[in-house]
Symmetry: C2
DNA sequence: ATCGCACACGTTATAGCATAACGCAATTGA
DNA sequence: TCAATTGCGTTATGCTATAACGTGTGCGAT
C-alpha cells in the first residue's frame, strides 16, 4: 500500500498541488503546466486519477478542485473518513479526521445495510482569518 | 421560514423531482420538461436555485444532481447537517440527519474558529438491494 | 529475439454541467 | 405613477470531464 514512484506527468501535477496555497481546478493545473509541455486536459486528469488512487491527493467535490493531502506521511486511505473545511474567502482548506464521526456514520450505514465505498464531507464557510 | 407559493417553473421542476425515483441532473430535468415548454438550462437552474433556497430540494455535489427533500413537512434548513447515502447501482438516495455527527463536526469547527455556512456529507456505495 | 501485454502518454473531438448578459413582462409598494 | 423587485425567455459562452484513437516503451513468457 505504499505510493509507487510517480511518472513525469504525475510528478509535475503533484508538485503544482503541493506548492499551491489551496485547492486547484484541473484546468488551472493545466495552465500552470503549459510551460512544461502540457497541452490537453487529459494529461492532467490522468495524472490526478493516479494520485487520487495513491491517496496523496484529494478531490473536493463541492468546488470541483483538487488538493494535496495534508498528511503526506500517513496514508489517508487507511484512517477512515476525511473531512474538509473550505474557506470561501481565501480558499484555504483544513483537512481533518474524526473517528467518532466516522464510527457514527458507519454505524448508521451498517444499520441500513448500506455498503459504503467513497465518502465526501465538506464544510464551506469562513476561516478564522476571513470571518468578519 | 415557510415555503412560498411556487411559480409555474418552480412547480414543474419540483414535480419532476418529486416523482423521480432518484436524483436527476439539471439537463435531465430539462429534457423531461421540454413538452411543457422548457427550452434552456437556465429555466431549470433558476427554479432549482429557489427550491434549494426554500430547502425543499437538495443538491448532491458528488454526482451533480438534485433530489427532492425526503422530509417535506419538516424544514431541512432547521435541523442541522443533512447526509446522503447514494447507491451507485440503482441511484437511490437515503437522506438522514444525525445530531451527534452534527455536534461533533460543529464542535471541531468551532475549535478552529471556522464559521460553517454550507455542508456536504455524501456517502457513495451500494444499498441493501444492490449489494452483492 | 520477438511476441504479447500493460501502461503511460499525446491529440482531437465531444459530452456534460453551469452561468453571463441582454431584454421583456408582471407585481408590489411608496 | 414611478421605481424596485422578481420571474421569465433567449442566445451565447465558459468550465468540467471523458471518449476514442494511435504511439512508444518496458518487461516477462515462449
Ligand atoms: Zn489526506
Ligand atoms: Zn479564509
Ligand atoms: Zn431534506
Ligand atoms: Zn441500489
Amino acid at each position: 500500500m505504499t505510493t509507487p514512484v510517480l511518472t513525469k506527468n504525475q510528478g509535475l501535477v503533484f508538485d503544482v498541488l503541493t506548492r499551491a496555497e489551496g485547492p486547484l481546478s484541473a484546468y488551472t493545473i493545466l495552465d500552470k503546466l503549459r510551460d512544461q509541455g502540457f497541452r490537453a486536459p487529459l494529461q492532467v486528469y490522468r495524472a490526478l486519477d493516479k494520485l487520487l488512487e495513491y491517496g496523496v491527493v484529494h478531490r473536493l467535490e463541492s468546488i470541483n478542485s483538487f488538493v494535496a493531502c495534508a498528511h503526506p506521511h500517513e496514508n489517508c486511505h487507511s484512517h477512515g473518513l476525511v473531512a474538509f473545511a473550505i474557506c470561501e474567502s481565501c480558499g484555504q482548506v483544513i483537512e481533518f479526521h474524526d473517528h467518532e464521526v466516522d464510527h457514527r456514520l458507519m454505524d448508521w450505514l451498517k444499520s441500513q445495510k448500506f455498503k459504503a465505498e467513497k465518502s465526501t464531507i465538506e464544510i464551506r464557510g469562513h476561516c478564522a482569518n476571513c470571518a468578519a
